[in-house]
């Protein structure tokens, strides 16, 4: 999927034109308004795991919704960096803990926002829920299906809110695309969805330990590299399927109103087999949905030309949601006008926000992408992309305080996690698996 700047501009105009006819989002319910306000201040929140993704969430906390009082992380450097995030937002410093259990015992928090490595999701989330805390857990839900089941059961058992952080489901751009384009039938019948997340670089991070003698073995990591680069080891991670695919599958499930029933997949560690990396650097999966609909996903770490996007190919039109900040619509027929020659479109923006998937040095495009082109509206792109996370945390707090609906919720998160976990199993077993 590469379009010339002119084609992209036309696609954006088409998208906005198609949206123009749809009514504004439903106003708040009359019954809700008539019942009057309820007493309560910002939700008292503790953060567990303030690595790059945890800090990205931390930076998107609206202080009128949540009061961040305490941070827990086994890496003192991450805590220091989180303090800087709070200071930058003009928020008071939070208390620090290394052990999340100690934090729960000593601090009076109502809710926990957690973004530790994937393998720790279930234990921490269940521990927090059993301690009577509401939980917003970074995606993917958990390392395996049994852990997802445990988390869901803990939320039900304790009657607490459990949300999984998929910011696309809170993004105004996605909401507009769903309400204004997809749901209205403007795309016709959609039989195929293409999901792509292509990057060019190793996923391996470089960073110094907090102290020369820092030893994370008590936390389950044999050395500093296993903690820093947990994404590269199967024990802690489900690789690209969890970190990237689950975002896009979760959004596709929302749009298609269903979840995949089967998957065939392939992949391997082809480009970066150096060191002791385990998780794949190339994965390809085909997900079968009910009704003859199919989504394909590819994530490669050897070429970033395609960047990342979801493309809904309908019988009447194509909807492209690119890089969480660009929406384009192309009617069938007008597609015939598209250039058939290969034309290299200059990239218009670099990574819009720091997060685990897009941090430079983490992996990602080459130098060309890191420098925004002159005149590119990067500032507005940042706000579009970040809005989803901010709204997601707001909705989580509202669900805690007044019981309003969540953006994603456990069941949808469960569906996308199961699909991605099964996709990795399909790669390993070299077979088609039901989900």
């Amino acid at each position: 999927m590469n379009l010339t700047p002119e084609q992209m501009e036309q696609g954006r105009r088409n998208f906005l034109k198609a949206l123009a006819g749809t009514p504004a989002l439903a106003a708040l319910g009359v019954s809700a308004a008539l019942r009057g306000p309820v007493r309560g201040g910002p939700v008292r929140v503790g953060f567990i795991g303030v690595g790059s993704q945890g800090r990205s969430l931390l930076g998107n906390v609206d202080p009128s919704y949540a009061d961040v009082r305490v941070l827990a992380d086994i890496n003192p450097n991450s805590l220091k960096a989180a303090d800087a995030v709070l200071a930058k937002a003009g928020r008071p410093p939070a208390k620090h803990y290394a052990d999340w259990r100690e934090m729960l015992q000593k601090e009076d928090v109502e809710a926990v926002v957690m973004a530790p490595p994937l393998w720790a999701h279930a234990d921490i989330a269940v521990g927090c829920l059993d301690a009577g805390k509401h939980v917003l857990c970074e995606k993917m839900m958990a390392w395996d299906v049994a852990s997802c089941e445990r988390m869901r059961a803990a939320a039900r058992r304790n009657n607490k809110v459990l949300e999984i952080a998929y910011q696309r489901l809170s993004s105004p751009m996605y909401q507009a695309a769903y309400d204004g384009i997809f749901k209205t039938g403007a795309l016709g019948d959609v039989f195929h969805v293409r999901l792509a997340w292509h990057r060019n670089g190793t996923w391996r991070r470089k960073g110094d330990p907090p102290a020369p003698d820092y030893n994370p073995s008590q936390w389950g990591y044999p050395d500093w590299d296993h903690l820093l680069n947990w994404r590269l080891y199967w024990k802690y991670s489900q690789g690209l399927m969890a970190e990237l695919c689950s975002h896009q599958i979760n959004a596709a499930n929302w749009f298609l109103g269903s979840a995949p029933e089967a998957v065939i997949a392939s992949g391997g560690l082809y480009r970066f087999p150096e060191g002791n990396r385990e998780t794949y650097d190339h994965v390809y999966a085909t997900f079968d949905y009910p009704g003859g609909r199919t989504a394909t996903f590819s994530s490669i770490e050897s070429n970033a030309f395609d960047d990342y996007y979801e493309m809904y190919m309908g019988t009447k039109a194509t909807l492209i949601l690119a890089r969480e900040q660009d929406a384009m619509l192309f009617e069938e027929g007008s597609a015939a006008n598209r250039s058939t020659t290969i034309e290299v479109a200059p990239r218009t923006s670099g990574p819009a926000a720091q997060s685990s998937e897009t941090m430079s040095g983490n992996t990602r495009q080459g130098a060309a992408a890191a420098t925004p082109a002159a005149g590119a509206p990067v500032t507005s792109d940042v706000s579009v992309r970040v809005q989803g996370s901010r709204i997601m945390i707001q909705r989580f707090c509202s669900a805690v305080r007044v019981g309003t609906p969540l953006s994603c919720g456990v069941d949808k998160a469960f569906d996308s996690a199961r699909a991605c976990i099964r996709a990795n199993e399909a790669v390993k077993q070299k077979t088609r698996l039901t989900i």
């Binding site: 306000p37 007493r39 309560g40 309003t404």
Partner: protein, 171 residues
């Protein structure tokens, strides 16, 4: 007085009472959230007082900047609730009316409308605004002693009346 006249007076008192009660209730509830899922913007009389105009502006400004603004906020909220309950239930109605008159007079004096559109106002007023009209309505309620028409005050009055009669009867 006809029964329709009595009913309309009591309806007027109830409406004004609700106006005061709900205003005070939401202030006492703070911090609070709307049921639709957003926090209610925090309230303090400080901003209102600091923006006061008119002959007593300086006094209001000083109050708005004083260190006991929190106490003023609480006092205003409690007064609003007490007045509201008084007018709705018709209990100590005359005292409630005096309190309502006092607060409305303060509200009026802190921002006497000078005939120009104002950002904080939903209309354009010259000297007469809704605060002044509400104050006049409260004065009317007070004059007609509406607590005796309907409300807990009427029970009190009835008891005072019945006691001597019954004592006469026993005598």
């Amino acid at each position: 007085m006809t029964s329709l006249q009595r009913v309309t007076l009591v309806v007027l008192r109830t409406l004004i009472g609700w106006h005061f009660l709900y205003e005070g209730y939401t202030k006492l509830l703070q911090p609070a959230w709307g049921r639709a899922g957003a926090p209610v913007a925090p309230w303090s009389s400080a901003a209102y007082l600091k923006a006061a105009t008119g002959p007593f502006a300086d006094t209001f400004h000083a109050l708005g900047s004083s260190s006991w603004i929190g106490t003023i906020d609480l006092a205003v909220a409690i007064a609003l609730v007490a007045i509201g309950l008084s007018l709705i239930l018709g209990v100590f109605t005359q005292t409630g009316c005096v309190g309502a008159l006092g607060l409305l007079t303060l509200f009026y004096l802190s921002a006497i409308p000078m005939g120009l559109p104002e950002a904080r106002s939903e209309g354009t007023y010259l000297l007469v605004n809704k605060n002044l009209i509400e104050a006049a309505a409260v004065l009317t309620l007070m004059t007609f002693r509406t607590g005796r028409i309907a409300g807990l005050d009427s029970l009190w009055v009835a008891r005072r009346r019945t006691v001597p009669i019954s004592s006469e009867m026993t005598a």
